[in-house]
Symmetry: C2
Subunit: 148 residues, 2 copies
DNA sequence: CACCATCGTTGGCAGAACCATCAATCTGAG
DNA sequence: CTCAGATTGATGGTTCTGCCAACGATGGTG
């Protein structure tokens, strides 16, 4: 008799913040799984991506450009350094800072991470056209880079 | 000399899952703040919205239609019952279930919550056209309601 | 010099998502 | 009818994330 319809209340189904959150849960699940298969997580990927694109950086800069709290950057760099993907050294020109440098192994690891992450995106957006993906990126970018 | 550019690495800036997550962080921040001002949180709003739309329901059904784990539904209903927004009673036709019913105070509270949540959406999507909002909802719905 | 900002680091917090388990109860196949 | 399996509410727990407060050390500025 009871057909399990799993119908979502309209109040939630049409609520942008709820939809964004549910989408994020799904998106994070697939990408986290992909990263975990290689023994990494989101923060690690973000750090390595920033280091490869911007070169050696301080932890504070890494945190700012990836929107990760300074205290969480410490833990991420700790793990990456222990895995040999990153090197941490003092900044000779500023005694407060560390200079984080990506290693050759780090670059290689980033390449592998990038591959599985890209595969995760394809799984998430399977059968989406390039135009639809662009539209999604544009809209989300407007939300993320809002200047109140 | 150093202009704080906060530039996001391209690898992240163009990554759907990263963008969705960042958007969710922002969206959750504004809506959580709005709900907290009235002493509630996301789970509470979802429960009340489901109860108003579908009428008295079991906790398992509430969890399914709002994508909240059964164990988390318990805590949410506990809080709502203590606040008098919901009434919990045994299901006479099924000894395993409870029947959760929204009270008059609950309906009133939901209305207030709905108002502040709507205001939060407007803050999040300030200066977005109706068409743009619809597009966003459509795209996100496709991600959320994917059947693998 | 005094003052304030910044940096790395530590420690901690709350919330969310999720999982395993349990006893009680219902359901359906035989 | 009986029994195996599924469902429900509940409890307890884990993990991760996004934060915040504070600290000592350092840098820059007046």
């Amino acid at each position: 008799m009871e057909i399990a319809e799993h119908k979502t209340p309209a109040r939630l189904r049409t609520l942008p913040s709820w939809l964004i959150n549910q989408a994020a849960i799904r998106a994070n699940r697939v990408t986290d799984q992909a990263l975990a298969d290689l023994g990494s997580r989101r923060h690690h990927f973000a750090m390595l991506a920033a280091l490869e694109e911007f070169g050696p950086s301080s932890q504070a800069d890494l945190g700012r450009c990836t929107a990760i709290d300074r205290s969480d950057v410490v833990a991420a760099i700790d793990a990456l350094a222990e895995q040999g993907y990153v090197q941490r050294g003092p900044d000779p020109s500023d005694g407060r800072r560390n200079v984080i440098t990506i290693t050759a192994e780090g670059t290689g690891h980033l390449r592998r991470l990038g591959a599985v992450v890209a595969a995760a995106q394809d799984e998430l957006l399977r059968s989406w056209s390039a135009a639809e993906r662009d539209t999604l990126l544009d809209l989300l970018t407007r939300i993320v880079s809002k200047v109140p």
